[in-house]
């Protein structure tokens, strides 16, 4: 069984197709693994045992009947609990949605169902995806499988930890400021933020609408490409959805190519504030790419240094408005205060009790940034910075086909270490945010372990909008060069997760 859960999604799919293993066996193996280790990791908020096994059994039956199946049919998947699923709870990691059942499926979930991928369950996250550590979940933090005292990244720490701890071969994440890529990097997994509009947001609970994007989390670059092709493509229910075809992402990942490519090192995303071990691994990756025939050039994106500031105006502004609907009227928590209960008071009490500190902090910050007299200075200026960041990207992509940087300035920090210092927490997203601001796609893959703490380091690749395929082409080559140097996948070096059965939830 251990071997089964260690297979990549691609390898599992091939074994399923060859009937060497059944979908029920594979799904059960993952459910068993969840049972064994999720008490320690807390990656899942809900495990969807019955339905997952049912779907797996249907896939096995269909295969026995000789039906034509999607290549990933029967490959299980975990879904970030920010994405709505019919028949399972969706909490967004918040008390305010505890017990809420969506009457509809997100578009990406419909696509998973159409491909007949068993959904293992819903993964933990920072409340409404607001955080970089998954410590802001109302349902307890997720722990890093490499070191249970450390954060798994955030906000999609549950999805990343589930994949890293072999509790799922694939997972869906959402990325607003790096929440797929940064937690992808921290526990040593692969995560991709597609071009904005490349994957439908319909059914992804909105944090910041102009920044949010759903994407794949996996253990290999090819696996992300496989999942990306399942979930990508135009959706008429999302007005910002691109009409472009998804593109031959799997082919790009299978072929791989860096020879003759210009890879731009972003001058502003290294140096001060970056951990030494992170930079060492980063430079090794550059050397590997150079040795494989890529031309390494340096590019400058001077306005990236304002990206974090602009992000912390745009994100909370949009979030303050997106989160207004949680008011105790139509769904979710309702708290009735003592005394004469007007709806105003019910709303105030409900939101006070239902939201955690970080959510409140961002709502208040966003309310401030949009309020009369401040709009131009704050929100308006931030939108202009966005234009400058886009111009920086445009100029950089004149000189390079793909850009490269560390995914996060540090390796995983300890649980609680930055909880009282929101600013320090925000700094974690400094390298990932520019892509969200400009809508360009980004991929993070493990770049090795930092010497000082033995924890995974992430390497980020960025491509122009609609050129997601380039990420896979370069990412696959870098991954294989790195794995050759390590003698196998990085996750093989991870310590065994203590088996703590009886999950928190």
């Amino acid at each position: 069984m251990t071997e089964l859960i260690h297979l990549s999604a691609d390898a599992l799919a091939q074994q399923l197709a060859a009937k060497q293993v059944s979908a029920v066996e594979a799904t059960q193996a993952y459910l068993d693994r969840i049972d064994a280790v999720d008490g320690a990791v807390n990656a899942y908020l809900h495990v969807n045992t019955e339905e997952a096994l049912l779907v797996a059994a249907e896939v096995d039956q269909a295969r026995a009947d000789g039906d034509t199946l999607h290549p990933l049919a029967g490959v299980p998947i975990a879904v970030k609990d920010l994405i709505v699923t019919k028949g399972q709870p969706t909490t967004a990691g918040s008390r305010i949605l505890e017990g809420w059942q969506s009457p509809y499926d997100a578009t990406v979930v419909q696509k998973l169902r159409a491909a007949r991928m068993p959904i293992l369950g819903k993964t933990n996250l920072d409340e409404f995806a607001m955080g970089s550590s998954t410590e802001h979940s109302a349902y307890g933090p997720t722990r890093n499988p490499w070191d249970l005292d450390r954060i798994p990244g955030g906000s999609g720490g549950g999805s990343a930890a589930a994949v890293a701890a072999f509790e799922a071969p694939l997972a869906l994440g959402t990325d607003t400021g790096g929440a797929i890529r940064q937690p992808g990097a921290v526990p040593g997994t692969v995560g991709v933020k597609p071009t904005y509009g490349g994957v439908s947001r319909y059914g992804a609970i909105a944090m910041a609408s102009s920044l949010d994007q759903i994407g794949p989390v996996s253990r290999t670059v090819l696996d992300s490409a496989l999942l990306h092709e399942v979930i990508g493509g135009h959706d008429p229910r999302d007005s910002t959805s691109l009409t472009d075809p998804v593109g031959a992402l799997v082919e790009a990942a299978r072929l791989g190519q860096v020879e003759g490519m210009r890879i731009g090192v972003i001058k502003e995303l290294q140096g001060e504030g970056y951990q030494a071990g992170v930079l060492t691994r980063f430079h090794e990756s550059l050397e590997l790419l150079r040795s494989a025939g890529a031309e390494i050039v340096e590019v400058s994106c001077p306005n990236f240094r304002y990206a974090l500031e602009a992000y912390y105006l745009i994100m909370p502004s949009e979030a303050s408005s997106n989160l207004a609907k949680y008011d105790g009227v139509r769904f979710g928590l309702r708290v009735v205060p003592e005394g004469a209960a007007t709806i105003e008071r019910v709303m105030g009490a409900t939101r006070a009790a239902g939201f955690g500190d970080e959510v409140k902090r961002r709502i208040i910050l966003g309310t401030y940034a949009l309020s009369a007299g401040y709009y131009d200075a704050y929100y308006g200026s931030a939108q202009k910075v966005r234009t400058l960041i886009q111009r920086d990207f445009a100029a950089a992509f004149e000189q390079a086909d793909v850009l490269i940087s560390p995914t996060a300035p540090t390796t995983a920090f300890k649980l609680g270490e930055k909880l009282d210092d929101p600013l320090a927490m925000y700094l974690n997203d400094v390298a990932t945010i520019p892509a969200n601001m400009a809508g360009v796609p980004g991929l993070s893959l493990p770049g090795g372990l930092a010497d000082e703490d033995g924890l995974p380091v992430g390497i980020q690749l960025l491509a122009p909008a609609r050129e997601d395929a380039r990420l896979y082409r370069v990412g696959a080559v870098l991954e294989s060069l790195l794995e050759d140097s390590w003698g196998g996948p990085l996750l093989a070096q991870a310590p065994a997760v203590p088996q703590i059965t009886g999950r928190n939830r």
């Binding site: 691109l242 912390y312 009227v329 009735v336 007007t342 902090r361 709502i363 910050l365 401030y368 704050y378």
Partner: protein, 98 residues
């Protein structure tokens, strides 16, 4: 501009419909001041000649045809309602009863 008082936060909390205790207001005022201080340079970066970007990928005229699609049943609509009566969502009085 980065001066944020407890009263400012109280006003923002009212606008955002989040009840806050005195302690929370005080703590939030401190945290907000730090954050706002750290993001204030944004207003100095871009001049009047720089247009604002509200959408990362420029699209326009994304329209739906005026054709009726699926709706929820009354039961589905009210399924998650904290309170309901007579097929409708029930909420406490909107105005104070004085």
């Amino acid at each position: 501009m980065a001066e944020i008082t407890r009263d400012d936060v109280a006003h923002l909390a009212r606008l955002a419909h989040i009840d806050m205790t005195d302690d929370e207001l005080a703590r939030m005022a401190g945290e907000l001041a730090v954050i706002v201080e750290s993001i204030k340079t944004v207003s100095e970066v871009a001049g009047d000649d720089v247009p604002a970007t509200s959408h990362p990928i420029p699209l326009s005229n994304v329209f739906r045809e005026d054709v009726v699609g699926e709706t929820l049943s009354n039961e589905e609509a009210l399924l998650n309602a904290p309170d309901n009566a007579d097929g409708r969502f029930k909420v406490p009085a909107i105005l104070d009863g004085e």
